[in-house]
Symmetry: C2
Subunit: 500 residues, 2 copies
């Protein structure tokens, strides 16, 4: 029944328009052999790795990358709420927090990314390794390399860290250190689309395709660009073996823009965007120890040839207080871009054959709508039904009914007001009608043939209208979207056939 013929990589890897890339960022990546170095036994990957070092042209997928801004950039981040935060999460969030309390705000020059080892559950040694990595990258990125034009302020030269991969095993520092001076040399760091593509590949673990997007926009009289990379959520293939070398799913993301945004404004916009994008996706409901999204804004965007609206002075940054309109515009751009980036994670969800958008509307607050959409999106029964092409309003309704609502509110769902509709994907909207399966709390007679056709598409859109719930229509107009995938045998095979 599937309409899919091409692989996910063929469909979701799209060329980057170089004019969309932000100015003032350079990147480099290499194969450091991180996974092989920490494996108890040689893996097929490791044995295939060349011994000649990271510059070999026959190297496998890169696993180590740096992203460098030509000058200290405003920096913001969102991190996992898991109690077991990995060392790079602890270190990066502390750096941003410390920075936010300083006069210049949170700033960073660079990001070091590795896949293959998460540096999680590695205790004090893991923290020391992470600190050493950040320190080395910072030292290597001196003005002598021709990258920074700014006066040297150590507080602005910080390196943020992103790690994903095996947990419970220390970083292979020898392998990493061997590559750092190479990665940070001026002739290796590049700003072209190919370099960004290779950097996106360095993020991958069991992702089936690199996740890279870019856009341009005008803001405050500047022609700005934004580029994004993310990864997740994949488990290692069974061949790794051994509980001490288990990969786990992690969502990592990087957003780099040359828009002139102050650090607090960037942080606030990022948190808003997160709450409407990365925090609205679910593959299997498990929150990782390493989930991190980092945003950098270096203000290097050139003047727009035909500026509209207010034009910022050189060196000036958008703040929420002084430039509320520009701030709102940037927040909306960032949110929309993050939504696109977040969708890529769900597209590549383990065993996923469906991409499902759940929209809940008619709620008193965004948080209510979000909680209900999240409940539907993580229900194993709903995900199984969608896998099987079943417009199962009963399972959807059940998940609506047990959603944990904000405890501070007395609002409740009114079952007799709930309507559930399956909406055709946009590109085939003309060929199908909307399928109302529950209206005002009452099950509807459904055209089974039409339902079968609608649910055979890869993309499924479900709208749950609470119609105001216990408050009635008047007071409750908020809505939230959530994106999830189906639950398939392939998911079990990926995550359950560890020793088979």
């Amino acid at each position: 029944m599937s309409t899919v013929t091409k692989s996910k990589a063929e469909r979701f890897v799209i060329p980057i328009n170089p004019s969309h890339l932000p100015k003032g960022f350079v990147v480099s990546s290499t194969y450091a052999g991180i996974k092989a170095a920490i494996s108890p036994k040689p893996t097929p990957d490791a044995s295939a790795a060349p011994s000649s070092g990271p510059t070999s042209t026959t190297s496998p997928k890169p696993d180590l990358a740096v992203i460098v801004s030509s000058k200290p950039a405003a920096a913001a981040g969102t991190f996992t709420r898991n109690a077991f935060k990995a060392a790079p999460v602890v270190l990066s969030s502390k750096m941003l927090l410390d920075g936010s309390r300083s006069p210049s705000g949170a700033r960073a020059r660079s990001i070091l990314v590795n896949s293959g080892c998460a540096n999680a559950v590695t205790g004090e040694r893991g923290m020391n390794d992470a600190k050493e990595c950040a320190k080395l990258v910072g030292e290597l990125l001196t003005p002598a390399k021709g990258i920074s034009q700014e006066p040297q302020d150590p507080s602005k030269q910080g390196t943020l860290l992103l790690s994903t991969g095996v947990i419970g095993v220390p970083l292979p520092m020898t392998a990493i250190k061997r590559c750092l001076s190479h990665l940070t040399s001026g002739n290796v760091l590049r700003s072209d689309a190919d370099a960004w593509h290779e950097t996106a590949r360095a993020f991958m673990t069991t992702d089936t395709f690199p996740k890279l997007r870019a856009r341009s926009f005008e803001l405050a009289g500047r022609k700005c660009g934004i580029v994004g990379i993310d990864k997740g959520a994949g488990m290692i293939h069974p061949s790794m073996a051994g509980p001490s070398t288990t990969l786990h799913a992690t969502l990592l993301g990087l957003l780099a823009t040359d828009a002139p945004i102050s650090p607090p404004a960037l942080q606030k916009a990022l948190e808003h965007a997160m709450s409407r994008s990365f925090n609205c996706i679910s593959v299997d409901g498990d929150m990782s120890t390493n989930d991190t999204i980092i945003a950098l804004a270096n203000g290097a965007a050139p003047p727009s040839p035909s500026p509209s609206g207010p034009v910022l002075k050189a060196g000036e940054e958008i703040t929420e207080e002084q430039h509320p309109e520009e701030f709102e515009k940037f927040k909306a751009i960032l949110t929309d871009f993050c939504e696109e980036m977040a969708h890529l994670i769900v597209r590549d969800g383990e065993g996923a054959e469906k991409f499902v958008e759940i929209k809940v509307k008619g709620a008193p607050t965004y948080e209510h709508a979000h909680a209900i959409a999240s409940s539907i999106s993580t229900s194993a029964l709903v995900k199984c039904a969608l896998h099987g092409g079943d417009a199962n309003w009963g399972r959807i309704l059940c998940a609506v009914g047990y959603a944990p609502l904000p405890s501070s509110s007395s609002w409740s769902i009114d079952p007799s007001r709930v309507t559930v509709t399956f909406v055709p994907p946009a590109e085939v909207a003309k060929e199908h009608r909307e399928l109302v399966v529950l209206k005002d709390g009452a099950p509807q007679k459904v055209d089974e043939v039409e339902a079968g056709k609608l649910l055979a598409y890869e993309d499924i859109n479900i709208v749950v209208d609470l119609a105001g719930g216990s408050d009635g229509d008047a007071g409750a107009k908020e809505e939230a979207k959530y994106w999830t995938c189906d639950l398939s045998r392939e998911y079990i095979a990926i995550n359950g056939d560890y020793r088979s």
Copy 2:
């Protein structure tokens, strides 16, 4: 690797010792053809059903049953928190609530149980149908039938309702009403073990075996018995077809004892027992619209031949205030019995090949331990790992780390204090050592061969010791247990292959 050779029915259906059954209860059951009556097309079940009515000896599995107490019994119940409560849930909980505000407390004479139709999402008609069922049973159970010896008090003649099955479709009232006078006649109602067994079968939907247990105990100078029936959690087989005829999972339970317990004491004991048994199991994390456990205590237990402790007067009931020791004893008996009953649900979980006990200890409160154990038990990744026989401490730790802790507490988990141990099942404890996979937050070297043997058993026991978390050892000694099953391809097949 499985050690299982017999079917679940062969292993978990065990004969009831008649001396354990409570006095003063009679039961009857029949095949009413409920599922067939509401199916849009004849199903194999329906076509196999005899047209000669409910008394035919060739009838399929019973789907309608009554449980009757010889006199009004103290009644208690716990019900789903789902916002979409089915009509029998709304009606039964209201009856108990109204009763609890009356001088005599919550009392009931009988319970009507049906499978095949959940009477959920059926609007006003569903409520009217449920009321009519209860009224009819109450009227039929008159003293003329020789069952009640009590003066007639309409407020004590109530009938509680339990329904499970298809949602969104009204009860087939003609089929049900046709059977009620038969079911409630004095010569059909019986108190023997076979009659209880048939009643347990009437609860079943896609359960693979009837779930019935009984025990005896001495309390307040009486020789008491308790019998329990439960069912869940099963989805209908794909052959049903059509969104308006979708079965959904429901946990139903009935506990009947002849112990002399006052209604408020029964309710309090039941809520405690629930929080340590039925509220500590998960098959797929979906909370049904019909989940209900009802307990009846009719005080009909005869005097013990050799009473120990205080002896209650005839007609006297145990209350928490006047008989605290007896109350605590009953609460402990009920909790232990409910734990046994709850385990049966997990044993019969859809696609389940493993029975997993998660014990979390070293927490500041039971609620903290329960939240963490629940988080581990519902993690798709943990359940997949256990399915594959993988002692994956990383996934367990991850689920510990994202457990939503009680917001009223400032206590937090200290990663460096957490120990995770796989404990051999009791019956093979001598053949294996305990397998410590994480100690004080540090991954341990694990004997893979030994781990493989331990995880090949059907029963898997995992102990997570928080060692007091952020408070250290001194303040946090509470523990909670949770029971779950693995996540298998068979689960996907049962719930995802709806239209295949």
